[in-house]
């Protein structure tokens, strides 16, 4: 007789901690966006200390750069706590691996941040730093999802409609979003013109519309998929307008001698909502892969009943 693995127990403390980690990571993305938008990336020339101290005078650009380092240190410590907590109470091996990967990612992110300061913001290090930030945020959101009671109650599976396949398509959305984030980061760090980021935006928006509308039209009986796709659509809608606003404000203040508050605000919001778009597309892909199982090749006629 086969013995099935016991269902992992729900640990509300761990789940709340994971949500806090994801929230702090979003704040970290905002702090990083402020550093770049305020041209403050090199205001603290040394690393890992700041002006040779743990706490330099928080004036001018130092406020943004050192503030970013402080939030980053907090997120790093929170990630360590998450991993320890996972190892102690959660028996899912794959989730522990996710925790280890998250810790390695946040360490690599810190090193990239230090290197970009020491090497005077080479575009490829700064762009890698920006992209890894987005991936790490998605990882923390996924960890919050995996530790939720909602996740632990098990999937509500729905068959894949052969006419409207969704499993592979759902993976394309985060890939397209990550490409867009990389193009945006490369433009912000002056590696390429913003035309590439602008040109890719209708493509990535189209991809998100394609995935989300397919789910809403053909898989809407699954509440999780319906909500996740609606959330992705809503975030993308905001992101498109923020992108336009950020671009317009850059044109309006092209001759400014210092970063203008309107431009900074729209750009940082665009970066933060970009992170949310990435995380929402990753979460949707995870839910699709979980709730829409791959059809068994020799079991086409008989379909599992829909559980909503």
């Amino acid at each position: 007789m086969a013995v099935s693995a016991p269902s992992p127990a729900y640990h509300p403390g761990l789940h709340r901690w994971s949500i806090l980690l994801a929230f702090c990571t979003l704040l970290l993305v905002v702090a990083g966006g402020l550093v770049t938008s305020r041209d403050a990336g090199l205001s603290v020339p040394d690393w890992p200390l700041s002006y040779g101290k743990l706490m330099p005078p928080m004036e001018g650009g130092i406020l943004y750069e050192h503030g970013h380092r402080m939030v980053a240190t907090t997120v790093g410590l929170f990630t360590i706590v998450s991993l320890i907590w996972l190892v102690r109470v959660d028996h899912r091996k794959w989730l522990r691996i996710v925790g280890v990967v998250a810790l390695l990612a946040v360490i690599a992110q810190g090193v990239l941040g230090g290197m970009t300061v020491l090497f005077l913001l080479p575009w490829w290090i700064s762009t890698s730093h920006a992209c890894l930030a987005q991936l790490f945020f998605s990882m923390t959101v996924a960890m919050a999802l995996f530790t939720s009671n909602w996740w632990l109650r098990g999937p509500r599976q729905i068959d894949e409609d052969d006419r409207y396949p969704i499993r592979f398509l759902s993976l394309l959305a985060p890939v397209f979003v990550l490409t867009q984030l990389a193009l945006g980061a490369a433009a912000r760090h002056k590696a390429i013109g913003s035309i590439y980021h602008i040109s890719w935006s209708p493509v990535v928006t189209g991809m998100i519309l394609w995935v989300s509308l397919r789910i809403l039209l053909h898989y809407s009986e699954n509440k999780e998929l319906r909500l996740a796709s609606m959330m992705l659509l809503a975030i993308t809608f905001c992101q498109v307008f923020l992108g336009i606003a950020a671009f317009m404000s850059r044109i309006a203040y092209a001759d400014a001698v210092q970063p203008m508050p309107v431009m900074v605000t729209f750009t940082v919001l665009h970066v933060a909502v970009g992170a949310l778009t990435m995380a929402a597309s990753v979460a949707l892909a995870i839910l699709v892969r979980r709730n829409v199982p791959a059809a068994a090749p020799d079991f086409v006629a008989g379909r599992a009943p829909v559980v909503s």
């Binding site: 205001s43 001018g60 650009g61 210092q258």
Partner: protein
């Protein structure tokens, strides 16, 4: 991580080689040396310069009785343009010119750089002062010479730097105060000037010859002119920029 560090090591810029060392020392006969002079004119309406918002650092703001304006385009009352770097770009014999013993000075005072545009010779020392009660970082954004970024505490010891390769112009910036920006032109010879409040320039002690003279402005870019300088003569060349 090791691969990343290797990439960084490979990608980092090597110091520009000092190519002037193998050249013969420059010699100018004072009996035949002449002068190149001229003005940098501005045709059109002077664009209004925005006021700098120093509110992010009250210690900067307090040092000024009235708001400072950006120095990007400064048109003088005689319709000439200030802060234009003018130098002999081409025509001088290949030679090694001796840099002056006294350093060129870049001061940080009131959270602005003084001067806004600075000429310096290859190998000449640049002395950097911080007369402010605040921290600055000084970032030389040079492309040919090795770039650097260093902090300077309030009224700290002066910094001394040299640039060994010709490079006209590159910005020097402060990320603590993002409005702070100056420009440095590194010339291999002493025949350069920066226009002031009358928009004129004078290059003295130039050997006779035919030269390409170049004017470089941070916003309006480069303009060149050719002239021939007779022995002990004076040649005039004006440049005109427009909005």
């Amino acid at each position: 991580m090791a691969a990343l560090l290797l990439l960084v090591a490979c990608g980092s810029k090597q110091p520009a080689p000092d190519t002037s060392a193998s050249l013969p020392p420059a010699q100018v006969d004072p009996a035949t040396a002449g002068t190149i002079t001229g003005k940098v004119l501005f045709d059109g309406k002077a664009p209004p310069m925005p006021e700098i918002d120093m509110s992010s650092n009250p210690n900067c703001e307090r040092q000024h009785k009235k708001p400072q304006k950006a120095e990007v385009v400064e048109v003088n009352s005689n319709k000439t343009l200030r802060n234009v770097f003018v130098w002999i770009k081409d025509g001088l014999p290949k030679a090694r010119w001796t840099p002056p013993a006294q350093p060129a000075t870049l001061d940080q005072r009131g959270c602005v750089y003084e001067p806004h545009v600075l000429g310096i010779m290859e190998g000449q020392q640049l002395e950097i002062l911080n007369d402010d009660p605040v921290n600055h970082n000084v970032h030389a954004e040079s492309q040919i010479n090795p770039a650097w970024n260093e902090s300077q505490a309030p009224r700290a010891e002066h910094k001394f730097k040299t640039f060994n390769s010709e490079e006209v112009l590159f910005p020097v910036t402060c990320s603590v105060h993002p409005w702070m920006r100056s420009y440095i032109g590194v010339s291999p010879h002493p025949f350069f000037a920066v226009t002031g409040d009358d928009g004129s320039f004078t290059l003295k002690g130039v050997p006779p010859g035919t030269y390409t003279v170049e004017a470089v402005h941070e916003k309006f870019g480069r303009k060149q002119g050719k002239l021939t300088l007779a022995p002990s003569g004076t040649a005039t060349l004006d440049f005109t920029y427009g909005s």
